[in-house]
């Protein structure tokens, strides 16, 4: 197991390196530079600015500088936010996004699983149609519409919760719910499908022939066998949500990381683009690793196949 984890860790580093390299060169292929959009400055000043950030050197040298800094844990200075390092910006904005993401994932997973399981058990019944209708709404209606509807109903009309802002827990409720809809939809649909598959398996008949109650059969024999596909999608899903979402954070005025993903590209803020990309890919790769570990815990057949090699 230790050997396997070590191997996985090396692969993770290689993956991140590939992502960094590709992003670095692709980003520099965008026409212009970080100062293109600024007001016209004398050529000499412009040259000085480029020199300060090593942008006047050949691309491969810049790449060398960047990698060297990266190894020392330095993501560089933002080219847009004066005197702020990318590390600082991420450290300041990530927690809000992270909290929101985790809360919405928990909501989405719990209700997604619940709806999916009930829909499969009551296949063709009212519950099935209700939860699948909800899932289609959740997938097809953009979350900013759900967000504004929630604001209108729960905050503006009923005045139960604040419309927007950031501070205490109550500020996080509406955005978490709004964010959770897509997770809930994806998970409930996947869980329904794989539950339907498991319900037809012979070992469910065996479990029934043992005299187990319906609840025992569902909990001990169905859910664990049906949950694998859900775990698979959960990795990328979590990585996507905990690193912040542009739209929801804008709507609720949350000081999260989401806007930097989008804004840095408009600004051609090279170090910010790379910083957010690295942050996202590290989380994604770690999540994938956790998913693989979870596989082994859930399904013993996966465990054996890996141990054997």
């Amino acid at each position: 197991m230790l050997n396997y984890s070590l191997k996985r860790f090396v692969y993770m580093l290689i993956t991140i390196w590939v992502i960094v390299t590709l992003t670095f060169f692709l980003m520099h292929m965008i026409p212009g530079d970080p100062f293109t959009s600024e007001k016209k400055v004398p050529e000499q000043i412009r040259q000085n600015m480029l020199a300060k950030y090593h942008l006047d050197k050949p691309l491969i040298v810049q790449y060398g500088y960047y990698l060297n800094n990266l190894i020392h844990g330095d993501l560089g200075i933002s080219l847009k936010y004066l005197n702020r390092t990318v590390d600082d910006i991420i450290k300041q904005s990530a927690p809000a996004s992270f909290q929101l993401g985790i809360q919405s994932i928990i909501l989405g997973v719990i209700f997604g699983l619940l709806f999916g399981i009930i829909a499969a058990l009551k296949r063709g019944g009212g519950w099935d149609y209700f939860s699948m209708f909800l899932a289609i709404i959740g997938i097809s209606v953009p979350n900013f519409i759900i967000a504004t509807l929630l604001q209108l109903l729960l905050a503006s009309k009923l005045r139960w919760l604040p419309v927007s802002g950031w501070g205490s827990f109550k500020y996080t409720i509406l955005p978490s719910i709004a964010l959770s809809f897509s997770t809930l939809s994806i998970i409930s649909r996947m869980m329904r499908t794989s539950m339907l598959d498991v319900i037809g398996q012979d070992y469910i008949k065996t479990a029934k022939a043992k005299g187990l109650s319906q609840l025992q059969i569902i909990w001990k024999h169905m859910v664990r066998n049906a949950i694998m596909p859900v775990v698979t999608v959960l990795g990328p899903l979590i990585a996507g949500i905990v690193t912040g979402t542009f739209v929801i954070e804008q709507i609720f005025s949350i000081p999260g990381l989401g806007k930097f993903f989008v804004q840095s590209i408009y600004d051609e803020d090279y170090s910010m683009i790379l910083g957010t990309t690295i942050f996202y890919s590290v989380i994604l790769v770690v999540m994938m690793f956790l998913v693989d570990i979870a596989y082994g815990l859930i399904d013993p057949r996966v465990r054996l196949a890996k141990g054997g090699k």
């Binding site: 008949k205 479990a207 043992k210 013993p300």
Partner: protein
């Protein structure tokens, strides 16, 4: 058979499935009894209703689409066909055990063998988890799985097919049920393993005095294990008798067909295997007459028009065939001739 007590008494069972295309009459007016300690085989080709009958007894079919239409099922003096689902749960696994056709898919892949055996013990008996695991290990010993200590913590994928079927038997017998229903238990196994599993079932039957109902289409298995045989066709029992009666003096043309389509070691000369031509009738609209008439070489006009009644050959041997009617033409029974020559 009169000296033993009746354990399971199925009376006039009718069981159907409601599908979009209509009602499938899977079991039609089936009655039979199983004595304590007896082994009974239900024989027939695929779709003849043999599995559905036993699943109706255990009430394992999802309802709907399954529907218990009529009849009585009396088990050990209690009319279990009137039981609630909760009452049935207390019978399943503890008083009636069941094993299924495919051991590769009948065990939960994500649960250790030990837990799967212990689960049924914990459900029906007031014992601690540790005690249940201890008994699970004993059951593995009983069904002949070596290294039970290690095996108990393994998962189904670490077991071979024969081992898994042994584990299934351990689950089914863990609570010492009075009746074991085996639904084609050897069909998915290769021949050498089949023999081992059958021997094991016979040994355990003697040891625990369990009644066995063996559902199968394999007459070789039947000859090995069954004292009494029921031959089913298109949801009906067409012939029933002791093992000797069915193998040596079969009366129904369908039973003849079944017997002629399997190779026999004791055949006098090189007999050809004869398949039964055609397919079973559509159970959406079962024929009015004898269900086998359309495939029967001896079919008469009456066979298409009315169901034959049961005729008693002996106390234990019953057959539903118009050839048994006093006015019917005499047909030479291909097996009687053989039986006489071998005896005389």
């Amino acid at each position: 058979m009169g000296d033993r007590e009746v354990l399971l008494d199925v009376q006039n069972l009718e069981y159907s499935f409601d599908t979009y295309a209509g009602e499938v009459k899977a079991v039609r007016d089936v009655s039979f009894q199983v004595m304590k300690g007896e082994s009974l085989a239900i024989v027939g080709e695929s779709g003849c209703g043999k599995s559905v009958t036993m699943q109706a007894v255990m009430r394992l079919n999802p309802e709907p689409p399954g529907r218990f239409k009529a009849g009585k099922i009396i088990f050990d003096g209690r009319e279990i066909s009137k039981f609630s689902e909760r009452q049935m749960q207390s019978i399943r696994g503890s008083e009636i055990g069941m094993i299924f056709q495919d051991p590769m898919t009948s065990l939960n892949p994500t649960m250790t063998i030990g837990k799967q055996i212990a689960e049924v013990i914990l459900k029906h008996q007031k014992v601690s988890k540790a005690e249940a695991m201890k008994r699970a290990k004993e059951m593995l010993d009983v069904v002949g799985i070596p290294n039970a200590d290690r095996r108990i913590n393994q998962y189904p994928h670490e077991f071979s097919g024969g081992m898994r079927q042994r584990a299934m038997i351990a689950i089914a017998l863990a609570c010492r049920p009075k009746l074991l229903i085996a639904d084609e238990p050897t069909t998915a196994l290769d021949v050498t393993i089949q023999a081992q599993i059958l021997d094991l079932m016979k040994d355990l039957q003697r040891e625990f005095n369990t009644s066995i109902i063996m559902i199968t289409h394999d007459l070789g298995v039947v000859a090995d294990i069954a004292e009494r045989i029921i031959v089913m066709y298109a949801g009906k029992i067409i012939e029933t008798g002791t093992s000797d009666e069915i193998f040596k003096h079969p009366q129904h043309p369908y039973t003849w067909g079944l017997l002629k389509s399997v190779p026999r070691l004791d055949a006098q000369n090189k007999e050809k295997l004869v398949p039964i031509v055609g397919t079973p009738p559509d159970l959406f609209a079962p024929p009015v007459g004898c269900p086998f008439a359309a495939r029967c070489n001896y079919a008469m006009k009456i066979c298409y028009e009315a169901q034959p009644e049961y005729t008693n050959e002996t106390d234990s041997h019953k057959v539903a065939c118009w050839l048994k009617h006093p006015y019917a033409p005499k047909v030479k029974n291909p097996f009687e001739k053989e039986a006489y020559t071998s005896e005389g």
